[in-house]
């Protein structure tokens, strides 16, 4: 049981780490020109404002939120990218980016939301995460207590941009949100341009091996869509359990294996993959195309740095195009 329990958290931890490693808060030179094309005047949000979150919940904010609780590291990164780090009054103990969040009280400890601490923080906006990262029972509970709760659950890169826009509207930072999104779009477009016409190697992203099961990107998952955008053809597991059977993996014959789990488990190395029973038959193993993804954290944390993750994946899948 314990290993399966870890699996939902590890990608998050890894994403956080990768995001940290790839920190590039400033706009990269190549995109500075388009970024200036984004609206330079801060657009003001008129309160009360009514917003619809990623799970279809309708939330009305009567005034500009000044006391924000974030229940996921990705949400924290979005809030801080929108210049509202100083309005955060509660975060999770996984939060590690940007550095300013270190001093903010932790209301999620060991993946458990401490509802008492959330209430004590007296928030006027709570930003939760979907897909049970914030348990749905906790979301219902906080909403029933009368707090505005925005649930972010992006399924792909475009949805992350949508979330940044949504949070921008909630925080009265719509102008900054537009700038951040425009920056991301420029960098995404640059990756797409470089990949034009390139082949799409069959790519297996290893999230982890637990109890004999192999975990990877689920079908229709965020990770699978990111691999596609980075120029790979993702080999996916079951959409719910995200596990893939070894037979299916051998049949899919990956040309490239990316070891996301190697970022936190030093025993997982390209050499260790080569000697796993049954894995020798895969093209990626025989051609020695097995890479450690030290950037797993930014790849799996759906915040503004997700573009760092996209670029890291693209570099791994097409090193020849991204020298």
């Amino acid at each position: 049981m314990a290993p399966r329990l870890r699996s939902p958290l590890l990608p998050l931890v890894l994403l956080a780490l990768v995001l940290g490693a790839c920190a590039s808060p400033s706009v990269s030179p190549s995109i500075s020109a388009p970024a200036s094309a984004a609206p330079s005047q801060p657009r003001h949000v008129v309160f009360p404002v009514t917003l619809t979150d990623d799970t279809g919940r309708v939330v009305t904010l009567t005034a500009r939120p000044e006391r924000i609780v974030s229940l996921a590291p990705s949400n924290t990164e979005i809030v801080c990218a929108l210049g509202a780090c100083d309005r955060l009054v509660g975060v999770t103990d996984f939060d590690d980016y940007p550095a300013e969040v270190a001093g903010i009280p932790k209301v999620v400890i060991g993946a458990q939301v401490d509802v008492e601490k959330v209430v004590a923080a007296n928030p006027d906006l709570i930003i939760a995460a979907g897909n049970e990262l914030t348990p749905s029972t906790v979301i219902t509970r906080l909403a029933n207590l009368g707090y505005p709760v925005l649930v972010l659950y992006p399924r792909d890169l475009a949805a992350v941009e949508g979330d940044i826009t949504l949070v921008g509207n909630a925080l009265d930072a719509a102008g900054l949100a537009a700038t951040v999104v425009a920056d991301m779009q420029v960098r995404i477009a640059a990756v797409q341009a470089a990949l034009a016409g390139a082949d799409r190697p069959r790519t297996f992203y290893e999230v982890g091996l637990f109890g004999g099961s192999i975990y990877t990107a689920g079908a229709d998952s965020f990770l699978a869509s990111l691999i596609s955008l980075a120029g790979g053809d993702p080999i996916t597991g079951d959409s719910l359990s995200t596990a893939i059977q070894l037979e299916a993996l051998v049949a899919a014959d990956p040309q490239l294996i990316l070891l996301g789990d190697a970022a936190y488990d030093p025993s997982v190395t390209p050499a260790s993959v080569g000697v796993r029973a049954g894995w020798g038959a895969m093209s990626a193993v025989s051609s020695d195309r097995i890479l450690v993804m030290a950037d797993d954290e930014v790849i799996t944390r759906p915040g503004p740095r997700i573009v760092d993750g996209l670029e890291a994946l693209a570099r791994a899948i097409h090193p020849e195009l991204f020298p």
């Binding site: 939902p8 401490d114 008492e116 897909n131 049970e132």
Partner: protein, 366 residues
């Protein structure tokens, strides 16, 4: 005649004596546990403030508000329903455990033994996963029936339904032999457990929520949940307390009980349904909390003897106090499932007690 003579001491209404003392201590322990559990938590609220908040909100006393509104929410909306739920669930499980141990004349019996846990788990997990596996049904976690979530309703129905199914399968020619009932319960539970395991495999990120439910947790306790389960448990408590004499007689065995004028089969069914109603109502709002329902009855039998006139109310009081304190420990330990605390602290205490009392025979077969 011999049976009747042997039975006399355990069906007669004798002065409570030492047992009365145990009940008094239990009641005081429960009140102390209640006060400690409401006053302490992960956020500090002063004892004076806590008392003032409770006086203002519950008794309507004209106390001016000098504390932040968040303190009031924490005490009244979070802690109080949680503490009362712990008391209710602890008392309900301990009482149901007492009844099943007598009814089945089995020291390993607990409230879950003939299928309640497996049925309630399958129901609750179905409720947890329905929005994920079958989004078309639109039964979200926010869906509410009578102020309750799908999880609570399905857990209650699953627990009760499973026991009724087990009972009807085990019935042979109008009789339900205890051994057949136990084995049928085991077999049906195994089938349902396979379903639970399958759903856990398919659960993705909801696995943490499922795991928390299976371990038992009072983190989700709310006033509506309490309002659903409290009346059911109150009826179960009341009707079971009235049947203390019959429980004592059943300890003698089915034949002896029949000779003493008890309609044994009818009585067994009544007791099973009443205890299962209480168990299912408890499990619905807390998950499958282990240990309390197994061990509290044994400890109390060692302390006050096998007479159910004492044993039933004592198990309610001590079960309630134990779970309230265990949940306080769970909260202070960072919100771990309360089932871990009950087992980790309760089991060594039970072992110590077993070693200390030379006559280890838990007095089930009178």
């Amino acid at each position: 005649m011999r049976a009747a003579a042997a039975a006399a001491p355990i069906i007669a209404r004798r002065p409570l004596g030492r047992g009365g003392l145990a009940l008094g201590i239990g009641a005081m322990l429960l009140v102390a546990a209640l006060m400690a559990a409401v006053a302490a938590g992960s956020v500090g609220v002063g004892i004076g403030e806590t008392a003032a908040i409770l006086g203002r909100r519950l008794l309507g006393l004209p106390i001016p508000r000098t504390w932040p509104l968040s303190a009031e929410t924490i005490i009244v909306e979070l802690r109080l329903p949680r503490v009362l739920t712990a008391m209710l669930v602890g008392g309900g499980l301990a009482m149901a455990g007492t009844v099943f141990q007598a009814l089945l004349r089995n020291p390993m019996a607990d409230p879950y033994i003939i299928g309640t846990a497996a049925g309630a788990s399958l129901g609750a997990i179905t409720g947890l996963l329905a929005p994920i596996l079958l989004p078309a049904l639109a039964i979200g976690a926010g869906t509410v029936w009578l102020g309750l979530g799908a999880v609570q309703v399905l857990a209650f129905a699953g627990g009760l339904g499973t026991v009724l199914l087990v009972y009807s399968i085990a019935r042979q020619g109008g009789q339900v032999p205890v051994v057949t009932l136990l084995l049928t319960g085991y077999a049906v539970s195994s089938i349902l457990a396979a379903g639970v395991a399958l759903l856990m495999f398919l659960s993705g990120r909801a696995l943490g929520a499922i795991f928390g439910w299976l371990m038992g947790s009072l983190a989700g306790a709310t006033w509506p949940g309490l309002a659903f389960s409290a009346p059911i448990l109150a009826v179960s408590f009341g009707l079971l307390l009235l049947r203390w004499r019959r429980l004592n007689v059943l300890l003698l065995g089915d034949t002896a009980a029949a000779h003493l004028g008890i309609d044994v089969e009818r009585e067994k069914l009544t007791l099973t349904v009443l205890a299962t109603l209480g168990t299912s109502a408890a499990v619905a709002i807390s998950g499958t909390i282990g240990f309390v329902g197994l061990v509290v009855p044994h400890v109390l039998r060692l302390a006050v003897g096998p007479d159910h006139r004492l044993l039933l109310p004592a198990s309610v009081l001590y079960g309630a106090a134990l779970l309230t304190l265990a949940d306080l420990g769970a909260r202070l330990a960072g919100g771990i499932p309360v089932g871990i605390v009950t087992a980790l602290i309760g089991a060594p205490f039970f072992l110590w007690l077993l070693r200390r009392s030379r006559a280890v025979r838990p007095v089930i077969t009178a």
